[in-house]
Each structure stands twice: as structure tokens, then as C-alpha cells.
Amino acid sequence: MLKIKNLQAGIPGREILKGISLEVKPGEVHAIMGPNGSGKSTLSSVLAGREDYEVTGGEVLFNGKDLLDMSPEDRAREGLFLAFQYPVEIPGVSNINFLKTAINEIRAYKGLPPIEAKEFLRMVKEKQALVEMTGNLANRSVNEGFSGGEKKRNEIFQMAMLEPTLAIMDETDSGLDIDALRIVANGVNKLRSKDRSFIVITHYQRLLNYIVPDFVHILYDGRIVKSGDKKLALELEEKGYDWIKKEAVGSV
């Protein structure tokens, strides 16, 4: 599904990702952990197509197509979804209208007719329940005046509506209390399927108690320095990031 080969990227004058390789197969959940500044958010931004970052080397294939060559909207239309670390507030744009436009543009890209009003409403109702969102929240302007937890739930709600094949969650757990975390994780777990993959980027092991990953990768200084299964996350929790930093320095 996703093949990242030796990806190098950064902002002008500073390389942040220094050669990342990762393969995600359908239905797999990969967790990427790492200390602050290791390049986690840069990786998600580059995959989603944020123009602030410059790719200096390597390639990314998404279902065999060159992902880095696509516009952000085409990546979404091909089935990629990014749950933002900091969802943007957009006053005046209603959540529902925006989602309907998004769904219809994705459908048009696939050669499908616009979604029927009835079907859309049924979907909204069903997917809202997934993240315990009230009708009111869906009708408000996108993220405007939402609490931190509401914003993250809205991300998962959008994910559920757009039905991506690969979802990247960028520190979705950061700053959430345990109840909000549980709601978000439950939502994600219900969306897991044999065709849908996840890349869960997090700083804390806590989230992985709820969303149990198939693989855990540790990112440090722009490289994946260690990969393993879910036990690696526990080991990291116990030993802390200093352990990785020392090993990484030692190996140079």
C-alpha cells in the first residue's frame, strides 16, 4: 500500500528527515514514536503534501503511484487521510457543507456521481455516533471554538466520513484526557479493517494501550533507529527516550 524508500526532506537549509524507509501493507497499524524534534510531524506533513517542506531525496509509492508528485487534494482522493496534530479553525465554513463538498470531489475524481442527500445524512448520523459527537458539533463552523478533545474527535469523524485506505494520525493523543483518548481510540478501532492501514504517530506509549499496533518504529534525528512489535513501545515506556538517544549516538 505505502512504500517509503530512503525519504529525505526538510525546510530550506535544514534537513529533517535523513533517509526513512517504511512499508505499510493493507490492514496494518504502524506506530511511529520518537522524542520531540525527531521528525515525526515532518514525516506526516510531507506525506500529506504540505508545501512548506522540500523533499530532497527518496521516493514514496502509494498503491504503486508516485505520492510525492500529487497535489494534497489528489492524495486525499487516492485514499490518504491526515488527522492533524493541530486541526485548523475555519470560521464561517460549516463542518457538514465542507464534508459534503469533500466527499463529492473525491467521488467525482473516481468518476462517481454526487452522493445522495439521504445517504449523506445517514452517513453523518452513523459516523457521528462512532466518536460520540452531537449533531450540533457537526453543524458548527469547522473546529471553531471546539475544545481540544472536540477537535480531535472531529478529525476522526472526518476520517470516518471520507473512508480513506491509509490514515496518518499525527499526535492525535497529545493533550487529551483519558476519556477523550478512549473515545478517539474506540473510533479508530472501529474503523480498522483488512483493507485500511494506519500510521499512528505519537510521543506517548499510552495511546498504544488502546490502539494496539502491529509494528512500532522509533524515529530519532530523522531516521528510524529501531523497529519491532508492540513490545518495543513498552520497553520504550520503561527505559525512556534517553536509551534510544544513547544507542543512536553509540552506533555512529
Binding site: A48, G49, R50, E51, S71, P72, E73, R75, A76, R77, F81, L82, F84, P87, V88, I90, P91, G92, V93, N97, F98, L99, T101, A102, I103, E105, I106, Y109, S141, V142, Q158, L162
Partner: protein
């Protein structure tokens, strides 16, 4: 050398001769007081001439460029154009007053049953012939402190316009729609003059919609609307400017509000080559409520200038201004908002906000708030912001599958929605939302 040219008084070439002709013909049968008012206004205009950019009020707006052509201010009702009323009207059920180049169009539909005493007609007919008592009482009365050269010019030259009289307590249910159409193949100066009187407790909603049709030559529309909102009366007055690029539109709304009255305005400018709007509101009674909202969208090298002035003469009044502009390509905009609070106007609440989005590096906006406050127990504020489209929001929308074009449009529509949401006529709101969407495709 340049300074000498700038200082020279500019009077359009044919103006003086044509004014004399009009006095001898078109205005000949008018009552003496009106002819005298025209002559006084014309002399006062001649003293000033067309202002240069040294004139503080016209600093950012080149009005000499507009008056440089060889236009005529003598023209009659004749035109070959047949208006498609269904297409030009915004509200299907409205009471319509249709003007072509400043003259009442003969087939205007005025068969609507009106509440007793209500007059909805034209200045030349209902104003001059039927209710000249009202005309004499009110004409020019809102303008005492206003010596704007173009208001003077309009006072000298007007032929016709809307005449709306709402006696005490009257409330026409239907919206009143003034449609002004510019058309034709000769350069001209049209000077529509409107008079709107809402007596005590009267209520009405008025749309003034300016459009062009088969307009092939440059036309200057220099319009003035005088509005009187008496005690406890409520008026909604919405002005839509959507002529084609041959139109140059100067407009002044001058309103006087009495105690406990409510006046709601919205000025939406989507067309024309060049626009200058003056909106002057004088709060002359306690507990007045006034709203000044505006939206303008310009592209290419269009120019839109909105000047507002709210005079707080009495205590416990509230004024609220929200103007938003979207400027693309090489277009230019101006917002100049003046709030004047008299010493006795305690407990005044006066707010002003001007927000603009520039879609290109070549677009410019000049915003200038002017607050003069002589009372010490007031709440007044002004804010102005100018920026580009929010790139983070744009990326967020695109990352959900929206194309760049539709994401951009959605954000701009949301920006404009704040202003359009204040409109209390659903048909007008829907009409403008569709029109704005169409205008944003540049």
C-alpha cells in the same frame, strides 16, 4: 509644474451650457424654490469643481479620471432597450420601481395594493406633482452639513428617482425594490435622486439594485438617496451595485434618524469600473440603532471606495459597522470610516470593523478609521485587518480532497458570509450568495 495642474479647477466642458439649457427646458415648469435650490447647488459646485487627490476626502480615489470624458447630462426617457423584468428583479413579489438612466421606466409595476397613505412612486411624478408639500419639506434637509461636490451636482441635475413616503405606523408587507438600469450607446451622466421618508413607527424593507444592460459607452451615475427615519421607525436599506465595466458609480446615502429609530444598511459592490460610496448617518435622537454593513469584491483594475460617517448627536445610541473587501489582481479599495460623538452623546456605543483579503500582490486597500469623540462615557472601537487567504486553512481543506479552487472559494465565501448574514430578506440573501460565488471565480 504638476502642482499647478493639480490646483487648476476642473469643470467638465459641457456642464455649464447644459445646465442653462436644462433650466430653460426640463426644469422650466418646476416651482421657484426648486429652481433656486438647483442654481445654488450648481454655483457651489462650480466653486469647487471636480476635486483632485489633494482633497482629503478624495485622497485615494481619482475622481478627475472619471469626469475626464465628453459626457452629456442632457438625456431623455428615450431608449431602445426592453428590460426583462423577471431577470432584473431580485424579489419576485416586490413592489418595483424601475428606472432607466435615471428616468422612471413607463411600465413599472405599481399596481400593488398599498396601505393607506403610502406613496411609492417617482420624484418627477409623485414627488413634484402629487406630494410637492413633502418634497419641499424634505429635499436637501439631510444634507445641511454636506458640501460634497457630487451631492451638489446631483441636487442641480436630477430628473427623477424613487419617491417613497411611509406615513406614521404604515408597514408595506412586500419589499420595495428600486431597480436602476444603465443602458445605451452614448456617454452620459445620470443623476438619480431618491427620497425616502418613514414617519413615526413606519417600517419597510428597501432594495436598491443598480445594473446595466446593453451598456456600450461610459456612463457616470451620480446618485443621492436621502433617508428620513422618524421616531420608532424601522428601515432596512440594501444597496447592490452590479453594473458592467462601462459604469462609474458615485453614490451618497444621507440618512437622519430620530429617537428610538432603527436603520439597517448593507452596501454590496460587485460590479462597475469605479465606485465611490458615501454613507452618512446622523443620529439626532436618543436610543437610535444603526447598522452599516458592506461587502465589495473587485478584480482586474476595478476601484471601490466606501466612505462612512456616523454622527452621534444624542445619548444612548448604537452604531455598528462591518465592511469586508476581497480584492484580486490589480484592483484597489478604500475604506474610510468616520465616527463623530458630540459632547452630549453619552452612553454611545460605536463600533467599526474593516476586514480585507488581498488575493494578489498587486491589489491594494487603504483603510482609515477616524474617531472624534467629545463625550466621556462612551464605548467606541475600531479595528482593521488586511491579509491574504489563510494558507493553513487552505491546506486543511485540500487535505480532505477539496481542489485548490473550490477550497479557496469556500474560504472566501465564508469571509463574505458575515456580511451577507446580516441581510433580512431571504430572496436577496440567496441572490447575493449565488452572485458572490460567481464573482469569486477569478
Amino acid at each position: 509644474m504638476i502642482a499647478t495642474i493639480e490646483n487648476k479647477k476642473i469643470i467638465p466642458a459641457r456642464l455649464e451650457g447644459e445646465f442653462q439649457t436644462l433650466l430653460g427646458k426640463t426644469f422650466a415648469s418646476e416651482p421657484d424654490w426648486l429652481k433656486k435650490a438647483r442654481q445654488q447647488a450648481f454655483s457651489a459646485f462650480l466653486e469647487q469643481g471636480v476635486p483632485s487627490r489633494r482633497h482629503e476626502e478624495y485622497k485615494y480615489t481619482d475622481v478627475r479620471k472619471v469626469f475626464a470624458g465628453n459626457f452629456s447630462c442632457i438625456h431623455n426617457e428615450a431608449h431602445t432597450f426592453t428590460p426583462d423584468l423577471g431577470k432584473l428583479s431580485i424579489d419576485r413579489d416586490s413592489i418595483k420601481l424601475i428606472f432607466v438612466n435615471g428616468w422612471l421606466y413607463k411600465e413599472s409595476t405599481l399596481d400593488a395594493p398599498l396601505p393607506e397613505g403610502v406613496v411609492i412612486g417617482s420624484m418627477a411624478n409623485e414627488g413634484l406633482l402629487v406630494r410637492n408639500d413633502l418634497l419641499r419639506n424634505y429635499l436637501g434637509r439631510s444634507l445641511d452639513k454636506n458640501n460634497d461636490p457630487f451631492v451638489l451636482l446631483n441636487t442641480a441635475l436630477w430628473f427623477d428617482g424613487a419617491f417613497i413616503y411611509l406615513p406614521a405606523g404604515s408597514r408595506p408587507e412586500r419589499t420595495i425594490e428600486i431597480i436602476h438600469i444603465c443602458t445605451g450607446g452614448t456617454e452620459l451622466l445620470a443623476s438619480p435622486r431618491h427620497l425616502i421618508i418613514a414617519e413615526e413607527g413606519a417600517e419597510a424593507r428597501i432594495i436598491e439594485h443598480s445594473v446595466s444592460a446593453e451598456l456600450e459607452k461610459k456612463v457616470i451615475i451620480n446618485s443621492v438617496a436621502e433617508v428620513f427615519v422618524h421616531e420608532n421607525a424601522r428601515l432596512n436599506y440594501y444597496k447592490i451595485q452590479n453594473e458592467n465595466r462601462n459604469a462609474f458609480h458615485l453614490h451618497t446615502t444621507s440618512a437622519v434618524q430620530k429617537r428610538d429609530s432603527h436603520f439597517d444598511t448593507n452596501t454590496v459592490t460587485l460590479g462597475c469600473d469605479w465606485v465611490r460610496n458615501n454613507l452618512n448617518i446622523s443620529l439626532e435622537g436618543e436610543n437610535c440603532d444603526t447598522h452599516l454593513n458592506g461587502l465589495f469584491i473587485a478584480a482586474d483594475n476595478q476601484h471601490t471606495d466606501n466612505h462612512t460617517r456616523v454622527y452621534h448627536g444624542q445619548p444612548h445610541c448604537q452604531s455598528n459597522q462591518l465592511y469586508k473587501g476581497i480584492l484580486g489582481e490589480r484592483s484597489t479599495g478604500v475604506f474610510n470610516g468616520k465616527i463623530y460623538v458630540e459632547r452630549d452623546a453619552q452612553k454611545t456605543n460605536a463600533y467599526q470593523s474593516s476586514k480585507n483579503i488581498l488575493l494578489s500582490d498587486d491589489a491594494t486597500i487603504n483603510t482609515k478609521p477616524e474617531l472624534e469623540i467629545y463625550a466621556d462615557d462612551v464605548k467606541c472601537s475600531h479595528g482593521s485587518s488586511t491579509g491574504k487567504i489563510d494558507e493553513d486553512a487552505l491546506f486543511y481543506l485540500r487535505s480532505r480532497g477539496l481542489g485548490e479552487e473550490s477550497a479557496r472559494k469556500l474560504l472566501l465565501q465564508a469571509f463574505a458570509a458575515d456580511v451577507l448574514d446580516t441581510i433580512r430578506i431571504d430572496s436577496l440573501k440567496n441572490y447575493l450568495e449565488a452572485l458572490v460565488t460567481q464573482k469569486l471565480s477569478f
